[in-house]
Symmetry: C2
């Protein structure tokens, strides 16, 4: 998100750039937290792991465990404890490369095996290149497809175990908990107070036939009888505008309910800056914004749970992906430093919290996991998006663009990851566009110009305005038919008929400003009452797309990649999903590529949230990702202004 | 505590023993949680550590870190991180014995140093005998004397650091937390939500001059300016009868306030069994008992804080020592299984909890640490007592006796530790004694028989009854002067004058029962109105002391020690502290030793609680202790009944 408000109007480029710098958006250093890992063996900041017999190679950040690295790359290694070094099932042989021997290894392997390189994969942290032999699996774990074609091996942090325990006797006076722990000897569990309180009665009321509920290494409950079939999680995409909730069956990985609604914080302003300003002007606003965010999550939770007929008490974990400001407001952390230079976050990682902290009434032991953030303006939503699109695991050169008021851009050459944020302004949200509106009923989302004007309208009602995708379509079409020149100016009235005879009469004026009429409610309706596109609207879009294009163009130079070499462009965000690839190419929002290479990635933040619920390894992956991405500072580039101005024009 | 109620009356020995077995008190196996450490090199269950240049040897349980072992034995090793392997200051050289090399070691030492045996002491777990060279200290850490002459090196889990941080700039946009963490690089900290919420504002309102508040590895707060002088902890001895609170200055180790009061659970019954019964009969009783316990802690906290003029917000940690039932009731864990065979605990370890869980309003991040328990009837109070008396660290043969309704006995030969519980019954609390009363104003606590009867009365008011120590004194004196024979029977009236001319007339009768009058309010007051000791009272005391004496006698046999070889007897508990060593010896409550060897240890549970607040190493020690103590099952002994009957008599 960007410190541009809905007030609209746009400064000329020079001012804009100055403004950006003033707002610090062109002046942000790389992410903090330097890792103390040794200097990377090659320039890529990763070490190389070769897996046999799979015969696959993967470069991973130093320090990642061999178990995680395999998991992230779809190579399954046996494990029941989830990689805590307790189940001792994840045996691998390191045939090349040096790895220290842990005390767990000593308890698991003979001296001979240790010498031969046998280790527990979850305890081997890859600090140099390694060759790893993975024994065949006893059972192939279930996997689910989430995000953009990502295969996720199901290893939820939430586990359930049905137990039939021996009743205590004078000859066997083990504590109630010990009785449970002895039956789950592959996990190193610690009980929470709720579980301890329930233990004695639940055990005795159910003949010691119970189900243990585990999240990571915490025993959060003991349930009567066998409840292993009921294990759910809630994934939230906490957007500034829209919030989406997905209820997941953690046993199968399938979604059983999805719901979305406007963020109840809307009344405080449409973008993050207006909401941050609210907290600065009114001491109570912060608490009211927090309550509004919590109410949004709670209402969505109720919806999906009712829709799926799921008991809230069987939801044990929640994952939330949101930008830095949304997360700060949700947690009651003062967001002011995010809104004023030098734009500093309280922190980029957040503790695991009880669900009640975010206003959710689920299982008493349910917890909330929040995505870490790369920076004040590249938040957890983008980290979730990178995870869902596998930006760090795909060998192809890929460009990730989350189009919105603030536009986040990530580029990968298959090895390295670079990211930046570009302030696109409110154009894509319909803001500062005279007939602009959100992608709601009545919004024109598709525009085709031929003999006449064809409009695709959301909700099949009469057109009321233009949403972002309609705006891009309209401009792209006007450029295609020639009524708009490369500089973004309407052609003079006198030449228009020769260029587009059947459309020329739609060129008109509102006040002194030239406009193109897209829809006239009644034949004799005055232009003021029409849905039109104005000269200033077009400038707005130009500035927006120029900011974005400058962003990816400079990232390409940074990483030494020609825009034409990009093999895939992922358009993310609620807007990106509606955008027509052809139009995006035509106005130069994305590089000139085959439309087939432009992919609408959809709500990737929500997908990322689902992934961390389905796999604790993917959760670790989100943190590792953060260490890999290099934040590129646009303002370091002396040539930014020139490049920005170049990008204002529409490609020939 | 024992499943004997205040209803009084006593069965003959055979029935008593049968009763004990029925109640499972003579049928309790050893503690659970077998450690997976290798078999001990010698029979003692410990490994031998030799420290140079101190030239001291210590046997410690396998798996204990060298750092802890040194700390517990008063050998200080440099450290600022508290043994988390992060400050890398605790460098030692293992000159003999094999220890694996950790990744931390690799980052700290050169290959040469590693080969020479240099390791980080906090990461070396002693699994075999080791010789360890400890480099001289840079600064000698402060120490405090607590418990029974225990020198505790001050290493509280609660730490404060005053920080003067650089303000953020466009050139330094580290997160607020990173700024703090970078300044505390010797600790591996994680923030709680409260700290994150306070961070942005507190930093900016105080020119980035703040104090970080740390508990173990959690950053619980950021306070304005320098507050390092204010760092307090609360230690509670949560007794069934009496609760004692001590406010500790964690910087100096000095107590700044002490208060005690009756446990507000009293109305539910005088001992644990009546309180457990209450929860079984009334579904709401559990919650009311919990509230009562919380109210007791809260009221005492208010008292000591007011007394010392300390702000509750500067109390960051609480330690509670209580028996298994008191802890269960305080935490809202169903105590029923503790009160009925087979007497099972929910668990023997308890999670660290927010102070609010026990009804204490202190710092929002304040936490509660509870002592682990050895068994349903050897609870956290006894573990705390063993810690405070250093039962596991003293080379002498020592006997620890906590005298109460239930009597816990621990014996050490300087190497091994054995423990058992003996049901003494309510005699020592004044229960079931016709003129018995608690050690309150008007209670006779000292009795001397000479020409006449000399009484020591609590509160210097008219004698109203006998408390436990007075009871023991009276019986001991009657035995000494000969009015009571070794079997515990009053001598016949006709021989009494010859034995004790000036006392004989005090022998009288109440109903059919013979009594000895200790105090006659008025010269002509009827015997019924006097404070007297009855024949049945004496039987009560005989059963009680016989149960205890049988306990330690059998422990001595178990460990192969003659009672005469015991070098020190520690009498603990509110009763033990008042007991006269001479009298205890004379009635055979303790072995026949020089009175100088009988030490009143006082409120050792409370002392143990103070120790864990002053040193996180001592806290680890309490857990290690649990692994060392071997619980001895009296009912395994075929000869228990005979031994019990033998012990009924008073020593000649």
């Amino acid at each position: 998100m960007t410190p541009t408000t809905d007030e609209g109007g746009s400064p000329p480029p020079a001012d804009l750039v100055a403004g950006l710098r003033r707002e610090g958006l062109l002046d942000r250093p790389a992410a903090d937290a330097p890792s103390d890992d040794p200097a990377p063996p090659d320039g890529t900041g990763r070490v190389l792991l070769r897996f046999a017999p799979a015969g696959r190679e993967h470069r991973v950040p130093p320090g990642v465990s061999v178990f995680d690295a395999a998991s992230w790359n779809g190579i399954a290694i046996d494990s029941t404890c989830g990689g805590h070094g307790t189940c001792r099932k994840c045996k691998v042989r390191v045939s090349r490369g040096d790895t220290p021997i842990t005390s767990h290894d000593r308890r698991t392997f003979s001296e001979g095996e240790l010498a031969a390189g046998w280790r527990l994969a979850c305890l081997v942290s890859a600090r140099s290149d390694l060759d790893v032999e993975v024994p065949p699996l006893v059972t192939r774990p279930k996997a689910a497809t989430v995000g953009v074609g990502r295969q996720v091996i199901l290893r939820p942090a939430v586990q359930k175990r049905y137990l039939e325990l021996d009743e205590p006797s004078l000859a066997d006076q083990r504590t109630d908990l010990r009785r449970v722990l002895d039956a789950i000897d592959d996990l190193d569990l610690h009980p929470d107070l709720h579980a301890l309180r329930r233990l004695p009665k639940v055990l005795r009321d159910n003949d010691f036939k119970v189900t243990a509920v585990v999240v990571d290494e915490t025993l959060i409950d003991i349930e009567p009888g066998d409840t292993t079939a009921y294990r759910y999680g809630l994934a939230f995409d906490l957007g500034t505008t829209t919030v989406v909730a997905t209820l997941l069956d953690l046993s199968t990985g399938t979604p059983c309910g999805v719901a979305s609604m406007l963020n109840k914080q809307q009344p405080f302003g449409g973008d993050v800056i207006t909401r941050i300003s609210a907290t600065m002007m009114d001491p109570d606003a912060g608490e009211r914004l927090r309550t509004a965010a919590q109410a949004t999550l709670a209402e969505l939770a109720d919806q999906v749970l009712a829709e799926a007929g799921v008991d809230p008490g069987t939801v044990y974990e929640v994952a939330i992906a949101g930008n830095a400001t949304m997360v700060a407001l949700l947690l009651g952390i003062d967001p002011e430093p995010l809104g004023v230079a030098p734009f500093v976050m309280a922190h980029d990682h957040f503790p695991v919290l009880p669900a009640t902290e975010v206003g959710l009434r689920l299982h008493p032991g349910a917890r909330v996991v929040l995505f870490p953030a790369l920076g004040a303006y590249v938040g957890g939503d983008i980290v979730a998006g990178m995870l869902a699109t596998g930006m760090d695991r795909d060998k192809r050169a890929r460009l990730f663009v989350d189009v919105g008021t603030n536009c986040e851009i990530v580029l990968s050459d298959g090895e390295r990851l670079v990211a930046t944020a570009a302030p696109a302004g409110p154009a894509f949200e319909g803001g500062a566009i005279r007939r602009g509106m959100r992608a709601a009923d009545g919004a024109i989302e598709v525009v085709k110009l031929g003999e006449t004007v064809q409009l695709g309208v959301i909700g099949d009602v009469a057109p009321m305005g233009l949403c972002g995708s309609g705006l891009v379509d309209a401009v792209a079409e006007l450029v295609r038919v020639g009524l708009l020149d490369a500089s973004g100016r309407f052609v003079p009235d006198e030449v228009a008929p020769a260029i587009a005879p059947t459309l020329a009469d739609r060129l008109s004026k509102v006040g002194q400003e030239r406009v193109f009429i897209l829809h006239r409610p009644t034949p004799d309706a005055p232009t003021e009452d029409c849905v039109f596109l104005s000269q200033r609207d077009i400038r707005e879009l130009q500035f927006a797309k120029a900011a974005i294009a400058t962003g990816w163009a400079l990232l390409c130079e940074e990483i030494g990649l020609a825009p034409g070499d990009i093999q895939q462009v992922l358009l993310a965000g609620s807007f990106g999903s509606y955008l027509s690839p052809a139009a995006a190419i035509r106005i130069g929002l994305v590089p000139k590529l085959s439309v087939l290479r432009i992919v609408s990635a959809g709500n990737v933040a929500g997908e990322g949230a689902k992934m961390v619920l389905l796999s604790s390894r993917e959760r670790a992956g989100a943190d590792a990702l953060l260490e890999e991405v290099h934040y590129v500072e646009l303002s370091d580039r002396a040539d930014f202004n020139d490049r920005f101005v170049e990008q204002l024009a529409f490609p020939g």
